[in-house]
């Protein structure tokens, strides 16, 4: 629980610092605070989809259903963080451009990715057989990720955009003061921690859903929800 408390404190500190202590950044003005809740979720979403890609490839290579569950959890959480990116982006656009949506290449790309990964849980829900579901989902996750570099990195640079330059290594990044840089890094760490926490919970739920229960609702291995299996004695392998 220690690191969870640390995460809560860290996220709270980022929120307070973003709104109260960071001076307006050149090019962003009064909407600067959005930066700390818009860019980190975007990075987390792309990382989550990358992990989903790796686990999908592991599944197709080894046929281990645990990889399939991990891929599914990463893809679904990536969707959540992409939704945060799109919503905070629209709020920022309203403050800066006067409208929530204007089909800017970056907005469009993020929305397309949201739609692409929105189909992933739909696909999983449509297939009852676990093996067929795992194979189809893995193929779709790999196919879908092929669009991520194009939509996330090529389109925003290939088409004229009103969106500020990339934060890391871009003009705006150069405009970040020391305080903003610290808060930005803290926000990145906090969102990654939040992601790791959500991933742990979601994966445990996925694993529990596959454990058969008897008529009284007790799980087949006799462990309560959240209870850990005792370590095996030396020389024995876990079932």
């Amino acid at each position: 629980m220690g690191w969870l408390a640390l995460l809560a404190v860290g996220m709270s500190a980022v929120i307070v610092a973003a709104f109260l202590f960071v001076p307006p950044v050149r090019g962003l003005g009064p909407t600067t605070a959005i930066l700390f809740f818009h860019v980190p979720p975007a990075w987390v979403a792309v990382s989550a989809w990358l992990l989903s890609l790796f686990h999908s490839m592991f599944y197709l290579r080894r046929g281990d259903l645990r990889s399939d569950r991990k891929a599914a959890v990463h893809a679904e959480l990536g969707l959540v963080f992409c939704a945060i990116t799109v919503i905070t982006g629209a709020i920022w656009a309203r403050g800066t451009w006067g409208v929530f949506w204007n089909w800017d290449p970056r907005q469009t790309s993020a929305l397309m990715l949201l739609l692409i990964y929105l189909a992933y849980p739909g696909l999983r829900g449509a297939i009852a057989d676990p093996i067929r579901r795992a194979r189809s989902s893995a193929a779709y996750a790999i196919f879908a990720f092929a669009t991520v570099p194009f939509l996330m990195f090529v389109v925003p640079r290939a088409f004229p955009s009103l969106h500020p330059s990339p934060i890391i290594g871009g003009e705006t990044g150069g405009g970040l003061g020391p305080a903003a840089r610290v808060v930005f890094a803290a926000s990145l760490v906090a969102f990654t921690g939040l992601y790791a926490w959500m991933y742990g919970i979601r994966l445990r739920l996925e694993m529990l859903a596959d454990r058969p229960a008897d008529r009284d609702g007790a799980l087949s291995d006799g462990l309560a929800i959240g209870e850990r299996r005792p370590p095996c004695p030396p020389g024995h392998r876990a079932a």
């Binding site: 739609l115 929105l118 189909a119 449509a126 194979r135 193929a139 196919f143």
Partner: protein, 230 residues
């Protein structure tokens, strides 16, 4: 009767499967006929809604590709569904490797899309008096757009065909992934209608070719995991 395997000759296998699928389509004429009728009906309704006056080229091109895409969503999985319903899928699996099967299905879906696009463009010409400022560019746009849509749509159609909710699932899976291809096809078609373009038109066509190549390559890599599962 012993069916000779074609595993050592993938090109022959792909050609044979393509001809088999084409023959099956033309014997029934039902599914492609219905798709053509749907496309014609929607195009006529569009022309009626616009009072026969061609909207600006970008809107006209967008409508054209949306009609093709929506009708194709019904048609793309048909070739896989038919194999399952007629009980021929396992014979095809035993007879040929997945790559020739995909090549044949890709070819068939490309032909289907091309037919639908040609029909819609022809009806546009009749109903809207579509000016053809650059016919070669329009042909290139239609070919590129159909190839890009077939390239990604065929694998997704194979995935959707294996589920119970294929009618709802394919648009959900395919439309977001096909939006970049759709955007490039709309841009190039609009420029072909106006006769403008040059470098921009070439860039859109190159983008379509690149999307076709990437999605085609990915499809060939992944198809066996979908197809072998049955």
């Amino acid at each position: 009767m012993r069916i000779p395997s074609c595993r050592s000759r993938p090109l022959e296998a792909a050609a044979a499967l393509f001809i088999k699928d084409l023959r099956v389509e033309f014997r029934s004429l039902m599914s492609w006929g219905l798709l053509a009728a749907s496309a014609a009906g929607i195009t006529i309704a569009t022309s009626f809604a616009f009072g026969g006056i061609l909207p600006d080229p970008l809107t006209a091109a967008a409508l054209l590709w949306i009609i093709v895409l929506l009708v194709a969503m019904t048609g793309l999985p048909q070739t896989f569904v038919r194999e399952q319903e007629q009980g021929t899928a396992w014979t095809v699996r035993l007879w040929a490797d997945p790559a020739p099967v995909l090549a044949a299905k890709l070819g068939l879906n490309f032909l289907l899309l091309l037919g639908l696009a040609a029909l819609v463009v022809s009806l546009y010409g009749l109903l809207f008096n579509l000016p053809l400022a650059a016919p070669a560019a329009l042909a290139g746009s239609v070919l590129g757009g159909c190839a890009a849509l077939a390239g990604s749509g065929t694998l997704l159609a194979a995935i959707a065909a294996g589920t119970g909710a294929r009618g709802l699932l394919l648009p959900l899976l395919a439309i977001p992934l096909q939006l970049p291809s759709l955007a490039a096809a709309v841009q190039s078609t609009a420029m072909a209608i106006t006769g403008e373009g040059g470098a921009t038109l070439r860039a859109a066509l190159v983008l379509l070719a690149a999307q076709t190549a990437v999605s085609g390559l990915m499809s060939f890599m992944l198809f066996r995991y979908i197809w072998d599962e049955g």
